[in-house]
């Protein structure tokens, strides 16, 4: 599996084809949302909801072979698309990678302008939550 930087570069490449056109970009993000893996119905619990998102976002985590696996879902397709990008970059990584890596692709693809301020806050909350999980696992693994 390529490292986090490589995946970020791939995403930047994919979005560059859209040439910053907002309409095509949003349609593309929605398409990505539709491709997200099925989320287990039984995990759609309030305790898995992320605060700070205007739309509903559920996130679950588990550790397999010392790698953090994220699964997520949302009631809106655009948010699902955004999550699918985060999962593509962060899921299946070691806690250390998740904590240390700077997610520069978000700014590079101009996400802030595309999704507006409310959704940007939601996206920031998602990243924060994912990094916090990784931090919690890392401290557990070190014990």
């Amino acid at each position: 599996m390529s490292d986090i930087k490589q995946v970020q570069e791939e995403i930047i490449d994919e979005f560059s084809i859209l040439e910053g056109d907002r309409e095509s970009t949003i349609f593309y993000i929605m398409e990505l949302g539709n491709q997200l893996d099925e989320f287990p119905e039984e995990a759609r619990l309030d305790e898995n909801l992320i605060k700070g998102c205007q739309s509903k976002v559920w996130l679950t985590t588990e550790v397999k072979d010392q790698k953090v696996i994220f699964k997520a879902d949302s009631n809106t397709d655009i948010t699902k698309g955004l999550i699918s990008l985060l999962i593509r970059v962060l899921s299946g990584r070691s806690p250390k990678e998740i904590i240390d890596e700077d997610l520069y692709f978000i700014e590079k693809i101009g996400m802030g302008n595309i999704i507006g301020s409310q959704r940007s806050n939601g996206l920031a909350s998602m990243i924060k939550r994912m990094k916090l999980y990784a931090l919690a696992y890392q401290s557990k693994l070190n014990v």
Binding site: R22, E23, I26, F27, M30, S55, I78, G116
Partner: protein, 407 residues
């Protein structure tokens, strides 16, 4: 008369811009309308030449500002067809108008065991002040239910009305669905049991002819910014005898006749309810907005907006996955809808990407959304400066978006 829409558009500089690389199509008029040049110029002219505090100054500027301010009151009197200028009170907007009535009339005349009737169609501004009053006084809030088309069920209203009813506060036209309510019937029936009636005209005032004397309502509230005027300004109409019976709302400034540390006597209406320095510049500029509406004529405005709505409905009805919300027989040019299996927020963002400004969400009418068991809708609301070509573009975009999930 057929309106020259291109000519009208030239009066709205804000419309001449691109958003996200597309020409702006502004269809969020139920939230707020754009302002014609004359309103903008009047605001600037006031601050450039006449800025002064009103009613007390002995100098020329104060005199000019006062005359101009009071001239708007005359305009509002004519706009609502009230009997007297003294029945026109300037507020911050519809919300403040309702709060004023609930806080003054409500606290004085409504008590334990009394009932207040509102409807399922109300926006939060016409729910919360009454809830607060009920909590304070021990009165009870009753709700007129609606049918699946989004119309009030009048038989149920008849059942709710009784000698206990002290206030009926209903919206003239729903902001979320566009439904126009039979307010005349509501007013007449309410008066028979001795209740006062407040009509929330936030949405209706820009489109429907308002005649508070013919309606015989006790209160009518509206906001300037939905009638091409400035934000932060509204009008509360109240019948003279009711206003005179009401205690003041806030203390200070204009509302006072004489103050000693022992006792304060209050000014006459309307000043009794206009505490502090009012929103002078915006009140003056509002004249130009009312002139704009009068010049075009509400009948012509309404005709154009209805044409746009029918033009849209005709194109949208066959789109797979298109679900209209609110299909009342009598409605304003408000198009509320959902697309099957899509979140309204996503639809709104995709329309925005195409340069089309609409509102998404619950439109501050959460109980109404609960009634339909939905989180919210996408709402396109038309105004006099919208064109058939813009409606075509909206429909084209909706078709494209609906296809994503409804193949």
């Amino acid at each position: 008369m057929t309106l020259n829409i291109q000519h009208i558009r030239e009066e709205f500089p804000v419309l001449d811009q691109e958003v996200n690389g597309r020409p702006l199509i502004y269809m969020d008029n139920a939230a707020t309308t754009q302002k014609p040049k004359k309103v903008l110029e009047a605001l600037s002219a006031y601050y450039t030449h006449d800025n002064s505090n009103i009613h007390r100054g002995a100098h020329t500027l104060a005199d000019r500002a006062t005359r101009s301010f009071e001239k708007t009151r005359t305009y509002c009197k004519e706009f609502l067809h009230s009997a007297e200028e003294e029945e026109i009170i300037f507020t911050k907007g519809t919300t403040e108008g309702i709060n004023l009535v609930a806080a003054t009339y409500g606290r004085k005349f409504i008590g334990k065991g009394d009932e207040i009737i509102i409807s399922t169609l109300e926006h939060h501004s016409n729910i919360v002040p009454w809830q607060m009053l009920c909590e304070e006084t021990g009165a009870t809030l009753k709700i007129i239910p609606i049918n699946d088309k989004g119309e009030l069920i009048m038989e149920e209203f008849d059942k709710l009305l009784s000698e206990k009813t002290k206030m009926v506060a209903v919206v003239h036209a729903s902001n979320a669905l566009g439904t126009i309510n039979p307010v005349k019937e509501i007013i007449d029936k309410s008066h028979k049991v001795g209740a006062k009636v407040l009509i929330d005209g936030a949405q209706s005032s820009a489109h429907l002819d308002i005649d508070v004397q013919a309606l015989d309502c006790d209160f009518f509230v509206m906001s300037a910014h939905k009638i091409y005027g400035p934000t932060g300004l509204g009008v509360l109409y109240g019948k003279r005898e009711v206003l005179e019976a009401m205690p003041p709302y806030q203390g200070g400034g204009e509302m006072i006749k004489e103050v000693t540390f022992e006792k304060t006597t209050f000014n006459e209406i309307p000043f009794k309810f206009e505490a502090g320095t009012p929103n002078i510049g915006d009140v003056i500029a509002f004249q130009m907005a009312l002139e704009f509406v009068n010049k075009l004529g509400k009948t012509n405005i309404r005709k154009h907006e209805e044409d746009l709505l029918h033009h849209a409905e005709h194109q949208l009805k066959d789109i797979k996955g298109f679900i209209p919300v609110g299909t009342a027989d009598q409605k304003l040019s408000v198009l509320s809808f959902l697309i099957k299996d899509m979140h309204p927020f996503d639809v709104g963002m995709m329309l925005d990407a195409a340069g089309i400004a609409v509102r998404t969400g619950h439109h501050c009418t959460q109980p109404l959304m609960n009634r339909f068991n939905i989180e919210g809708t996408v709402r396109a609301s038309f105004s006099v400066y919208n064109t058939k070509e813009e409606v075509d573009k909206l429909c084209e975009s909706v078709r494209k978006i609906a296809k994503l999930k409804n193949k």
